[in-house]
């Protein structure tokens, strides 16, 4: 399968995703420049973390107008897999590919720490390799990662099982103290209705190597890889 990692001006975790996919996961990856159109065949596009356009005005607000985003929207519409991590999640929300918005952390400070995530749903291309209720350890590092959606949207997310990850404590409880940013309902990651676009605030790419303290992030990337392998198989 082929991965594309989009580089926006101000992307910071683009190299991290690239290296992790290539070195730790043995995948084929290519960088894509935001000013270009999306050309070529890809199975999964990753919008990496960072501070696109400095996060000035609002996180992700300007990046969503990058030329490549037209192609990303079309790619998603056709069922392509899109993964937004941190700033990538914010861009996906701003561009309407994902519901809701990410606002200033409740504690008002940037937070950088390891968190535990509970896998809520496994019937998605992003979590199919995990077990329901499984806990994953990965870092968060953001100033505006507090997930917000109005109550109707939130209700819809729950009903459609679009909430894929929640912040939890060591016992697996979605308690307020386990919530690093005040996200509604401890939400750490959501997917769209058609389940091919996924955004999350934690960084799985920083949790794919023992040296970095966790390998749990692999679950996300390997789920995507397995899904794409199956899709290819079906097409063949």
């Amino acid at each position: 399968m082929r991965w594309g990692v989009i580089v926006f001006p101000g992307s910071c975790d683009d190299q991290d995703v690239f290296d992790t996919l290539k070195r730790d996961m043995g995948q084929k990856v290519k960088f894509l420049w935001h000013k270009d159109d999306l050309v070529g065949h890809f199975d999964c596009l990753v919008l990496p973390g960072g501070f696109s356009y400095g996060d000035y005005l609002r996180c992700g607000a300007v990046a969503r107008f990058s030329p490549i985003m037209r192609g990303v929207v079309e790619f998603a519409r056709q069922g392509g897999l899109v993964l937004g991590i941190c700033n990538g999640f914010q861009i996906l929300c701003e561009s309407g590919l994902l519901p809701g918005a990410l606002v200033r952390n409740a504690g008002l400070q940037f937070v950088c720490q390891q968190v535990l995530l509970r896998v809520e749903e496994t019937d998605t291309p992003f979590t199919c390799e995990a077990k329901k209720g499984q806990l994953l350890k990965a870092p968060v590092k953001h100033g505006e990662g507090c997930y917000y959606a109005d109550s109707a949207t939130l209700e819809r997310l729950r009903k459609n099982h679009q909430i894929l990850l929640r912040y939890v404590d060591a016992k697996g409880r979605a308690s307020p103290s386990a919530n690093p940013n005040g996200s509604l309902d401890n939400i750490a990651g959501v997917c769209n209705e058609t389940r091919n676009v996924f955004g999350l605030m934690p960084h799985p790419e920083d949790a794919c190597n023992k040296l970095l303290g966790s390998e749990d992030g692999r679950k996300i990337f390997s789920s995507i890889a397995v899904t794409c392998a199956q899709r290819e198989h079906r097409h063949a």
Partner: protein, 83 residues
């Protein structure tokens, strides 16, 4: 023309910054203050043939870029003259 744009959080959206400012004001002894809400304020110059023309362009900019309708409301004022 000078345009002043005010972007504020929708009511219902939590405003931790406003809350924190309110708390610090109370600590400093300004207990007469309530309901602090924090928003953004943009000033810009715009060239337009008429007030109405400016208005419709500015509205567009706000909806497209300057405010996020999921969480924010906006309003603006247009003044003649430049900054």
């Amino acid at each position: 023309m000078v345009v002043k744009i005010f972007v504020s959080l929708k009511s219902g959206v939590l405003d931790p910054q406003g809350k924190a400012i309110e708390r610090s004001l109370h600590t400093l002894g300004y207990s007469e203050v309530q309901d602090v809400r924090m928003g953004k304020y943009l000033e810009l110059n715009v060239e337009a043939s008429s007030h109405e023309a400016a208005e419709s362009r500015i509205r567009e900019m706000c909806e497209k870029l300057l405010a996020n309708p999921v969480i924010e409301d906006y309003r603006f004022e247009i003044e003649d003259g430049t900054l």
